[in-house]
Subunit: 353 residues, 2 copies
């Protein structure tokens, strides 16, 4: 079988050098803007490059220079709008600095995470941005052992063995619960995420703190599940079956919130007349117009940007030896999904000093 495509053999530094009448190293210097090059030589080389349509071979370059100029973003689910925004922030910041980004999905599986980390090590990835699937620092350890810097995103890991960029889930959840408390709600249920994931745990902690501070019980009102729509539906179903029924629901993530709303509707209840809902993470930006949920919005895009900044500092040895933790502020958005508690009778808890 003959291949009839017209092969224009890829030009190499050698070809360019020959054409420009210089040595390959000189060509390399022109490409990399390194060392001393006279204007005349530079012009000759650039002309040759243009004539031959020369494109440097990144593979060979990385092999020799030990830098691939590639970063990787390992996350749990790129279809979650929160991570999609983060990914854009990462890509924009990285590509502005001349880096390419590889995206990987772990589906919250530690095994997949492990496989990706190994693959990326093979590919000589310069640095990694990681949303850890589990609670163990295993991947981080592996990467550190191979001298590949890591920045952990969104979730904390113990002990701190990498720079971390995240938000304050405890405080933010507290603020969210305060919104309900200030409107007279006293029976508030929390729909949690997977135990062991720091964000999930922290959000419950913030809830518990607010409730305790207000002198309210939380027993039976906290339930754990997954950060998915179906899990949110199930969790909401079970807390709505409690008696007396909670008047406020705290969904610890956006998908959980969607499931909860569906469950509330399935019960024939109205939001906020019968049940008020607050949630962590905003709805997808594209649906923002129709959003009625009261939420804590996290600056996903900025988190991505910041993480790249920290990572590049490490790569360029401009970072301090100790690990840094950057906590970005969240944004409380109060919308129509919260109302006065049906049983409030005018006696509303006021904000604590």
């Amino acid at each position: 079988m003959y291949n009839e495509i017209d092969y224009t053999l890829m030009a190499t530094v050698r070809d360019v050098a020959e054409r420009a009448g210089v040595s390959p190293i000189t060509v390399s210097r022109v490409i990399n803007n390194a060392g001393y090059i006279s204007g005349a030589t530079r012009a000759k080389v650039e002309a040759a490059i243009a004539e031959l349509g020369y494109v440097p071979n990144t593979l060979a370059r990385s092999l020799r220079s030990k830098r691939s100029h590639t970063l990787a973003f390992i996350t749990t689910d790129i279809t979650n709008p929160f991570f999609t925004s983060m990914a854009r922030g990462i890509e924009d910041a990285a590509s502005a600095a001349g880096y390419t980004v590889l995206f990987c999905n772990t589906d919250e599986s530690v095994e997949k995470e492990d496989r990706y980390v190994r693959l990326l090590l093979q590919k000589q990835t310069d640095g990694i941005l990681l949303v850890p699937a589990g609670s163990s620092p295993r991947s981080v350890d592996l990467l550190r052992s191979q001298d590949t810097p890591v920045v952990v995103l969104d979730r904390a890991i113990e002990p701190l063995k990498a720079d971390v960029v995240r938000c304050d889930s405890v405080r933010s959840s507290y603020d969210l619960i305060r919104v309900l408390l200030e409107r007279g709600h006293r029976r508030i249920a929390a729909l949690g995420g997977p135990v062991g994931i720091s964000t999930a745990d922290d959000r419950i902690a913030g809830y518990t703190h607010a409730m305790k501070e207000a002198g309210l019980p939380t027993r039976d009102l906290v339930i754990y599940g997954q950060f998915t729509e179906s899990s949110g539906f199930e969790m909401a179903q079970s807390v709505l079956a409690l008696s007396p029924r909670p008047t406020g629901l705290f969904a610890t993530n956006n998908f959980v919130a969607l499931g909860a709303i569906r469950a509330i509707e399935a019960h024939g209840l109205r939001i906020p007349q019968d049940v008020s809902v607050v949630a962590f993470d905003d709805v997808p930006p594209v649906l923002a117009q129709y959003a009625f949920l009261t939420v804590i919005a996290q600056p996903a895009y900025q988190m991505g940007q910041k993480a790249v900044e920290l990572l590049l500092q490490r790569l360029q040895d401009e970072a301090p030896p100790e690990y840094r933790q950057v906590i970005l502020p969240t944004h409380l958005i109060v919308r129509g999904s919260v109302g006065l508690a049906p049983d409030a009778r005018g006696s509303v808890v006021t904000a604590p000093k």
Copy 2:
């Protein structure tokens, strides 16, 4: 400045070979499952690999073998759920075949597309999955000139210079308009996308065909814009200002539909009592529960899978010399956003033979 990190030098084939008492090529053969290897030798080599924690260097491998085992997906906006699903389909299919996928966003800019194509060529990407930003086959030509196979997704390009995986926008739009016609609508406006993008043009063509066939005018009822929420809002505003006001609206993409809905609400009109709405592309899967739009849903995930299949065939020289065009079936989902035309008076157009 001393670097105090404990360098465990990455083991190479040479180290493994030495330890196993064989030559480097033998190690290579074990890794690649190529050629003849006795059980005993294989065992020795594998043991050495395990002991040294050897990880092959993908860069060197690709440099020598001329295959990077990397594909790239260049799309216009990865935050659009339609493309996100497509991306997952691509990633799943590719990684099952041992390929890594690079994701790139062009934001509908031909310049960005061009830059990415060059970058990917540098990186020796084996093949490219492309949602073209413009209507010109420029990127495709460039890639073909460098012998890099391409599969075009979602949009057609003329002339056909690559395999294409897409849906039948003309036919699907026709079906969507029929839904309105069959419910007595006679004044139906179409909110188009950017002129020159095949999907945008085709959707208007399907609309026009259905209208003409029903003997209805389309003059003044077709308007062009962008595939964005804000453009949808503006386009809807202008057609809603027409007199008499259209009773049916066709949004040629999901973002446009969202803008249109917002405009309809802003006009104080109800869906479907005052205006029926049909749209191309479904809402994000996670929000499917709350969907009320009548839409044509495209099998985004499957499109991605199929495209990878075609691309891998080309890479393995198993593809026919001529370019293939795969048209996947769409799915018409009739939901609450369409009703009988307010002015129908029982006289409903029936389906054509």
